[in-house]
C-alpha cells in the first residue's frame, strides 16, 4: 500500500494523542496561532508535514481530567485546495478525523472568514466557531449577535480575545462538551442551486455505498462533481486504508452493478 504524507502524519499523531485530537483551522491573520499558544502554552512542538513544504504545530493541554491534543493547521482561506497549505488543512480535517475542529475567525471580517467555516462544517458536524479579536470589532463599533450566529450556523460560537486570554476557558469547555458530552450539533448545510443539488442526488447513493459512513457522502459527491484530482486521489487512499479486504470488494462490485 502506498504511504502518503497524510498517513505518515496521522501515525505520528496517533503515538501519543491523549483523549482527543482537535484541529485548529482558520484564515491567516486571525490570531489562530495566538489561540494555539494560549491554549497549549509550552507544551508544543513544530514540524514539517511529511513530503510537503508545509509547517504544522502540535500541542496539548489538560482540561477536566482529559488530555487534549491540538493540531494547528496551516492558515487557509478555503478548503478548495488552491495551495499546499489549503490542501494540508483540508486533508487533515477530512481524513484525519479529528474529534472536533475549531475554526478561528476574525470578528472584524466575519464575512470572508465564514467561507472557511461553512466549508469545514460541510465536512464534519463536529465544528466549533471561535470568533477572535472581538475587542477590535468593538473598537470598530461593530456589534455581533453571537447567539444568533450560533443559531444560524448550528454549531457553538465562542467569542474570544486570545491575546488577552479572554474566552479561552469557554472555548475549552465547549470543546469538552462537543467531544466528551456528545453535545448534538446540527450544522447548517450549504444549499447549492437546483442543477448541482440534483447532480449530487444522482451520485450520492453510490458514493454512500462505497464510503460506507467513513466519509461524508454528500461532501465526497460534491468533490467528485468538482473533479479536483488531488482530493480524488486522497479519497481513494483513504478508502483503501479504512477497510482492506472482502467487504470493500463486495461494496465496490455493488457499485459497478448499480452504475452499469
Amino acid at each position: 500500500m502506498q504511504v502518503t504524507g497524510l498517513q505518515e502524519f496521522l501515525e505520528r499523531i496517533e503515538e501519543n494523542k491523549g483523549d482527543a485530537v482537535i484541529a485548529l483551522a482558520g484564515n491567516p491573520n486571525t490570531g489562530k496561532s495566538t489561540v494555539f499558544n494560549s491554549l497549549t502554552g509550552l507544551n508544543q512542538h513544530t514540524g514539517n508535514w511529511p513530503g510537503k513544504t508545509v509547517v504544522f504545530a502540535k500541542g496539548s493541554y489538560r482540561y477536566k481530567k482529559k488530555n487534549i491534543t491540538l493540531v494547528d493547521l496551516p492558515g487557509a482561506y478555503s478548503l478548495l485546495a488552491n495551495s499546499a497549505d489549503e490542501q494540508v488543512a483540508r486533508d487533515f480535517i477530512c481524513f484525519g478525523k479529528p474529534d472536533a475542529t475549531v475554526v478561528v475567525v476574525d470578528a472584524t471580517c466575519l464575512e470572508r472568514n465564514l467561507n472557511l467555516a461553512l466549508q469545514v462544517m460541510e465536512i464534519t458536524p463536529q465544528t466549533i466557531l471561535c470568533v477572535n479579536l472581538i475587542d477590535e470589532a468593538k473598537r470598530k463599533k461593530m456589534a455581533i449577535d453571537f447567539s444568533k450566529l450560533a443559531d444560524l450556523l448550528g454549531v457553538p460560537v465562542i467569542p474570544t480575545v486570545a491575546r488577552d486570554k479572554v474566552g479561552l476557558l469557554d472555548l475549552k469547555e465547549s470543546i469538552h462538551r462537543v467531544v466528551f458530552e456528545k453535545q448534538l450539533l446540527q450544522p447548517r448545510r450549504i444549499v447549492y442551486n437546483k442543477v448541482i443539488e440534483s447532480a449530487i442526488e444522482k451520485i450520492q447513493e453510490e458514493v454512500e455505498v462505497l464510503v460506507h459512513g467513513s466519509l461524508n457522502s454528500r461532501w465526497v459527491a460534491l468533490r467528485l462533481l468538482d473533479g479536483d484530482p488531488t482530493i480524488i486521489r486522497e479519497i481513494f487512499n483513504h478508502l483503501q486504508r479504512m477497510d482492506p479486504g472482502d467487504q470493500q470488494s463486495k461494496r465496490a462490485l455493488k457499485v459497478v452493478e448499480d452504475c452499469g
Binding site: 455581533i144 447548517r188 447549492y192 447532480a199 458514493v207
Partner: protein, 462 residues
C-alpha cells in the same frame, strides 16, 4: 485493477457525465458559499455608525503612489539611525568591559606561568574573537530586532509588499518575494525557508536565489562599522545621520540588485509569467510591547548571537594559529593573503579581506573579527575598542575610502553563508541550484567591485 479502483472509476465517470451537464461546478460552489457567508453576516453584524475606518485612511497614505516609496525609505533610514546612534554607547561599554577582562586573563595566564602559545590560542585567539563578536554585534541587534519586529507586528510589512508588488511583477518575480526578503533581513537562511509561501516553483527559485542580496543581521554590523569607517576616511567626521543614510542606501541597492537579477533569471533560466495572488492588508494592530521584546530578544537576538559565538570561538583559534605559525619568517595567514592579494587588488580590496570573507563562510558575523585579527597579528598590538581605533588600524594597512566602500558592496553582494547554502540545498533538493545560489551573488559582487575599483583608479580618485 483492484475492485475499489473499479468502483471509484465507475462513480467518477458517472460524475463526469453529470459535470458536463452542469457546467462550471467550482464556480457555482464558490458562489453559493460566498452568498451564504454574506447572508449570515448581514443577519448578525450591525455597525453602529458610519464606519470610521482609520486603517483605510492610513493605508491611503502609506501605499499611495507619491508618498509610498519615500515613506518606506524614510522609515528604513529611521530604523538604521536609531540602531546606529543607539548602539554606539553600549558597544563602547561592552568593549571596555570585555577587553578589560582580557587583561585580567592575561595576568592570570602569566601568574600560573602558562606557556605562551596556550595564552595565545585561548586569550588572543578564542577570547578576543568572542569579545569582538559580542561587543560589535549585540547592541545593534538588540536595537534593530525589536524595531523590526515592531513594524512586523504593527502590520506594516504587507504594505511594503503591496508597494513593491508592481516592481517585482515587472521583474518576472512573485509579489510575495518581498515578504521573504523581509525575513532575510533577520537571517537569509530563514528568508530561504520563508520562500515556501510562494507556490509556483519557478518564482520560489528566483526568490531563493536572490534572497542573499538582502543584508542579514550577521552582515549589518559589518555594514554599519564600514559605513562609519568609509565616512571617516572620506569626510573625516563621524555622523550617525550620514552613516544611516549610507546603510539605507546600501539596502536599497540590494533591493535593486534583487530586482535586476530576478529579471535576468526570469528571462533566461527561469522563464515564465508571474502568477497572481491575493494580498491581504490585515488591520493595523498595536503590538504588545512586552511580548515583542521577549520574542525579539530571545528568539532572534540571542539565537543569532549564540550562532555567531559558536562559530567565532573555533574561528578565533584557527586564525590565531594561522597567524602565528611562521614558515620562513611569514605566517601562514600571510602566505594565504599573499596568494589572494593580486585578485583582491583587482577588485579594490586586498588579500586579507578576501581571506576573511572565505574564512567567514560559516557565518558572516565573523568576517570583521577575522580581518582585525589578521591585521593585528601582522604588526603592533593596539587596543581596539572603538570605530576610531578600527579606522586607524585599517588606514595603517593601506585602506582608502575605496577599500571601505568595496568592502560594503562585497559584503552586501557576496556568496551566502554556509547555513544559508545548506538551507538552499535542503529547500531546492538540488546541488545545481545551490551552486548557482553561491555563484550568482559572487559574480555580481566581483563585477561591481571590479568596475568601481577600475573606474576610481582610471579617474585618479584614489
Amino acid at each position: 485493477m483492484d475492485s475499489l479502483e473499479v468502483g471509484l472509476n465507475q462513480i467518477l465517470s458517472k460524475a463526469q457525465k453529470v459535470r458536463w451537464q452542469v457546467g462550471s461546478v467550482r464556480e457555482v460552489i464558490v458562489k453559493s458559499i460566498y452568498e451564504q457567508a454574506q447572508e449570515i453576516t448581514e443577519k448578525v453584524v450591525t455597525t453602529k455608525e458610519a464606519e470610521e475606518d482609520l486603517d483605510r485612511k492610513i493605508d491611503n497614505i502609506v501605499t499611495s503612489k507619491i508618498l509610498g516609496y519615500p515613506l518606506m525609505i524614510a522609515l528604513l533610514g529611521l530604523v538604521f539611525w536609531l540602531t546606529i546612534s543607539g548602539a554606539n554607547l553600549p558597544s563602547q561599554i561592552l568593549a571596555d568591559l570585555l577587553f578589560g577582562f582580557q587583561h585580567r586573563l592575561t595576568t592570570f595566564f602569566h601568574w600560573i606561568s602558562a606557556p605562551e602559545w596556550l595564552h595565545g590560542v585561548l586569550v588572543l585567539g578564542l577570547y578576543r574573537c568572542l569579545a569582538w563578536v559580542v561587543s560589535v554585534m549585540l547592541p545593534p541587534m538588540a536595537i534593530f530586532f525589536p524595531l523590526f519586529t515592531f513594524l512586523e507586528d504593527l502590520g506594516y510589512l504587507p504594505r511594503v509588499a503591496f508597494n513593491l508588488d508592481k516592481l517585482f511583477k515587472r521583474a518576472g518575480a512573485h509579489g510575495k518575494q518581498i515578504l521573504t526578503m523581509c525575513m532575510g533581513f533577520g537571517c537569509n537562511a530563514a528568508g530561504v525557508i520563508a520562500c515556501r509561501i510562494i507556490e509556483s516553483p519557478r518564482e520560489r527559485l528566483i526568490a531563493i536565489l536572490t534572497n542573499n542580496f538582502v543584508p542579514c543581521n550577521g552582515r549589518f554590523p559589518t555594514l554599519i562599522a564600514m559605513a562609519a569607517v568609509f565616512l571617516g576616511i572620506l569626510v573625516s567626521k563621524e555622523s550617525n545621520l550620514l552613516a544611516s543614510a549610507l546603510v539605507a542606501g546600501v539596502v536599497v541597492l540590494g533591493v535593486f540588485i534583487t530586482l535586476l537579477v530576478s529579471w535576468i533569471l526570469s528571462k533566461t533560466v527561469l522563464k515564465g509569467v508571474p502568477s497572481t495572488f491575493t494580498l491581504e492588508l490585515p488591520p493595523y494592530r498595536w503590538p504588545k510591547i512586552g511580548t515583542l521584546l521577549i520574542r525579539s530578544v530571545l528568539d532572534r537576538t540571542l539565537f543569532v548571537l549564540m550562532r555567531a559565538v559558536i562559530v567565532a570561538a573555533p574561528a578565533g583559534v584557527v586564525i590565531w594559529t594561522l597567524a602565528n605559525i611562521e614558515v620562513a619568517n611569514l605566517s601562514i595567514i600571510g602566505y594565504l593573503a599573499g596568494w589572494l592579494q593580486g585578485f583582491g587588488r583587482l577588485i579594490g580590496l586586498d588579500g586579507y579581506i578576501i581571506l576573511a570573507f572565505i574564512l567567514g563562510l560559516p557565518a558572516n558575523e565573523i568576517v570583521i573579527p577575522i580581518l582585525i585579527m589578521s591585521y593585528l597579528s601582522q604588526g603592533t598590538m593596539l587596543e581596539l575598542d572603538s570605530i576610531e581605533a578600527l579606522r586607524q588600524l585599517l588606514i595603517a594597512n593601506g585602506w582608502t575610502w575605496l577599500t571601505a566602500l568595496n568592502m560594503i558592496l562585497f559584503s552586501l553582494l557576496h556568496f551566502p553563508c554556509a547555513t544559508t547554502l545548506l538551507t538552499i540545498r535542503r529547500e531546492t533538493q538540488s546541488i545545481r541550484w545551490t551552486w548557482l545560489a553561491a555563484l550568482i551573488p559572487t559574480t555580481v559582487a566581483v563585477v561591481v567591485c571590479f568596475l568601481l575599483a577600475q573606474t576610481a583608479r582610471v579617474l585618479g580618485l584614489v
